[in-house]
Assembly symmetry: D2
Homo-oligomer: 337 residues x 4
């Protein structure tokens, strides 16, 4: 069975495992207050050019999202995002469980656009409606598209004009920043957002996400929110060691580049074979459309996700490559068609 199901099927990059092994029997203080976490935070602040930011390490993405959202918002405040936004559809109501409404808007390219923010404000004008107070977006998006610098600037300006926070879910930030279609630089993120997280789980770590808080107003007591929401790892240094490896000399970028390269080779091959695509994706998630019978056939040898129906007799599938995907898997898939 070849795996194209997701970017978290394998464990971690061997360098990370080596670092974990090397430090395994050291005794450190717990809960992320150790030197490995401090050092990894410094590296991240350097790479993303935000010396004044606060960096915290959390175990997973859903946790990172609702911890930040509930930390930032007052009870009557809501988050604006697209209908496909991860917090809206794939987190079992985790944001609502902390008391906040998620206002969603359909988006054919999977991206937030400023008209959504304007409409959210217009539709929620008074004390009988919620107060839109934060924009949530994912980069890369849930359908593989990526934001250009200009797009993110427009959203950032709109948020600032209306007093909303801009929060970026970077579960797949690596593949976004290294996408050939992206002109975003790491230093743009702290400039344009109030907070963002850098994904480790889907880019070569065993687990872990690094939350970067840029807005001073969001920094206070974030560790209390992490603890209360269950995201404070006792052996917190495990996160520091992993992110230390990822950002010591660019491993995080190289791993994402590899995933993108495999996905783009796959997409190029699909296009050459005339396979229709739900979306032209510039990152590591590819969405081809096949006849139902072919999907069934392919599923015998390849693990992938069913995304939905394209029409009566065709199905959209999702193929995801990772830092660990071997070129042979791409070849095998294309050959199997």
């Amino acid at each position: 069975m070849y795996y194209l199901k997701n970017d978290y099927s394998e464990g971690c990059h061997p360098d990370i495992l080596a670092a974990l092994t090397k430090t395994n029997l050291e005794a450190t203080t717990g809960y992320g207050l150790d030197e490995y976490c401090q050092s990894a935070a410094e590296q991240i602040k350097k790479v993303f050019s935000c010396p004044d930011a606060d960096v915290h390490f959390l175990v997973g993405g859903t946790q990172a999202n609702f911890t930040m959202i509930s930390h930032a918002l007052r009870p009557y405040e809501a988050v604006v995002t697209v209908s496909t936004g991860h917090i809206g559809v794939h987190e079992t109501g985790a944001v609502e469980a902390t008391g906040h409404e998620v206002l969603t808007f359909p988006s054919s390219d999977g991206k937030v656009h400023t008209w959504m923010i304007e409409q959210a404000l217009t539709e929620n004008p008074d004390e009988h409606t919620v107060e839109p107070a934060m924009v949530y977006l994912s980069n890369a998006t849930e359908i593989g598209t990526v934001y250009t610098r200009r797009e993110l600037e427009e959203i950032s300006d709109c948020c600032k004009a209306h007093g909303l926070y801009l929060y970026l879910d970077g579960a797949r930030l690596g593949t976004a920043l290294t996408s050939s279609q992206s002109d975003l630089k790491p230093e743009d993120l702290p400039r344009l957002t109030d907070a963002f997280y850098i994904g480790g789980t889907k880019n070569g770590a065993l687990f872990g996400e690094a939350m970067v808080i840029v807005n001073d107003g969001l920094k206070r007591h974030f560790r209390m929110s992490i603890k209360q929401k269950g995201g404070m790892l006792a052996k917190g240094r495990l996160l520091g060691v992993q992110f230390g490896e990822l950002f010591r000399d660019g491993l995080w970028f190289r791993l994402a580049e590899h995933a993108n390269a495999q996905a783009q080779a796959l997409q190029k091959g699909l296009k050459e074979k005339g396979v229709p695509l739900m979306v032209d994706s510039p990152s590591n998630q590819i969405f081809p459309i096949f006849p139902d019978t072919q999907v069934e056939e392919l599923s015998k040898d390849f693990a992938f996700e069913i995304w939905g129906k394209a029409d009566e007799s065709h199905t959209i599938i999702r193929l995801v490559t990772s830092w660990a995907t071997k070129p042979q898997v791409v070849d095998a898939f294309l050959k199997a068609l």
Copy 2:
């Protein structure tokens, strides 16, 4: 610096690291639906003699606690526990954050007693008060004491008589079950509780707790609660691999025995030197009382936690041993006195 600060200072037992390394590049399905998790669950059900239980793996203890409590209770229901109960004092209001009151009672031995349950019910009789619906207890307790089978049976009977759930926090269940003062057997836990979790973090794993759900009424959709509360690990098999090692041939018990042996050697030494103790602890946490000046002196070479003031000029400290504590550390501490 010698570490006697807690039982999660080091990484994991070498066998566990070896298993993680060996399986690192395998691709599996995510979120704990892989074969490693299934196999570890089977081992646990065998060791604890509960073939019909559901076993789930979560990342940490605070998360395990509020996930189970919020899963089990209706909005107006409350949990009964002791004043030193972990959920009451060291989880940043995590249970209240899910909407539930924690009713606490002072307890000199750190254990729940049936009078507390009776009193909670008497004090909360009608619709103007909460409904006590669950008893939470830790074994070993937060001050190192352990429940006898008879004590746990009495609490279990009292819970059943009044229709309350009994939930056991087993962050340190290993040291409780292997304590020389404990006559509890693994098979007693599913017999006497509705749910309990088996601690991995504090007993040799990198991280991870295994939730065992015995009561059929609590089984439905627990995975939804795990996901919503942020405890569902993408690379869930990491937990399965670790618990597989811990329960394959008794490693979990041997590690706890080691921790207890070191702690008991330490406590015996302290007694022989006439050092007073806050409590006579039969497990891996020891609470000696020293003059403030001596505490300051000791803290130069040893890392430990300040527990509180005994009187004007004396301090209670907490010394914790782990699966990784070397006998030399115990010797060094006793020699330093």
Copy 3:
């Protein structure tokens, strides 16, 4: 200024005020445990043919809705309703504040249809998504339409088939049941729903809604939910006295008939004058479309609500009649056109 703004602009029907005055200095037990509440509950159970139902009195509609929803659902469960549903848009995220997601579907006639329930289930299939567990609908709807018996039966059957609760918001149930287009009878409500509330505030009471719980599984400890959510009135008998008057000899129905008659006279007049309508409403809310300039002109003498833009130069307004609306107001409005 003539009021066509809503059905809660005036106080209460004089008979109700007389009853409150007559009983004002009687001393009774508090919190709705008095004889007036008991007697009113009995009358309601008789009128709606549900001798085994539980009847509770709450102060207002938003409160009634989130109290029932949070009482009924587990943390990961969600409510299905239309995009215009009151809980989705006009309650400041009150349901989300209790932890539950509201799944909404656009509906041109303001009514829930079974395909929405099916789609909600299809789109939320596993532990990464919420569990649709209740359908919420308003009758009359927020745009004045009413359910036929057949429509409600289909929804009820669909709910039963899939194990969802059906909860009906009856803020305007009086005008629905007395609408000329409705074939629903009071006895259909307990037959087809798990719980529903009977609106007093918008039908002649000073305030108050009567929650009728039909499903035995929802009855337990509902008074605890009322108290916890702030809906338990100290002088609870005020609610009993009012509902006693409303249901003693049909006042509640007569008041709704009056409101409908005024609204239908108004709608007939508008149609005769060729004024376009957003929807052909059979109850007490009418939605004519006027040129913006005319809306401005009308607003000098009439109080009404702006519903939204119909196009660049036309506006939809909402005209609401109540138990207290005098025929002269309708005449004045039609004359003013």
Copy 4:
């Protein structure tokens, strides 16, 4: 049956009922934005010497409490109060249901003392514990005692020194301010607290509490919190009309004076007869201790509340007088002894 059970057994003062009757058929805008509410707010700001405060009207006390507490606090923040505090014991966990822990301290006089605040801060020092952020106190307290100006100043100073809000529950503020043992003036309340509410329900209104927000930081969007938590009355002017009557020319003070006078006559009589008291109460709640048999006897003719056991054979009862209690009831009780 003579009623000494509570101060909300009867309806409202006749002047209030007359005002409600007189305005009954007027049509006004809803949700408390009418002129009656505005005018009542102005009167309150004048009487309490706080021209810059915001005044909002809510239906009941539990609602007022959790609405303000959840409005003011961040998710990890907690409230400090006494063990007998209304929010801690008689509101069915309403504060916890909004996500916040209530830290309680035993208090023999029912009052908060500064050592409790200090201890709460000491016991909750870091991210593993909640952050004490508000002090909640009731005046008069739940056992009838009242704060002196000096006591309230000390608490206020302590709160300011540590950055906590001070919130005062004034369900029985009338009887506190008119107690012979109180030197507090209305103008002290906005000077010493961040917010307080003025009780109407227990002092002559049908229902209603007036929330006065002094601290600018708490003013923003409080109406959104009221709406979300279910406290926004559609016919909001009912509250404005009532508080308008209460504060037009001192009715609120006179009603409280009457209640106090009856209670003090009762307490004096009890003392003269040598009946022991749980507490010497200077307001309208009296707590005599009787042999169990006498309690049973008295309950045949008098309605009162059982407070608790004094010892094996004696019971503490609570006798409450109201604005409507007739001197004959006091006489009858004393005669019955």
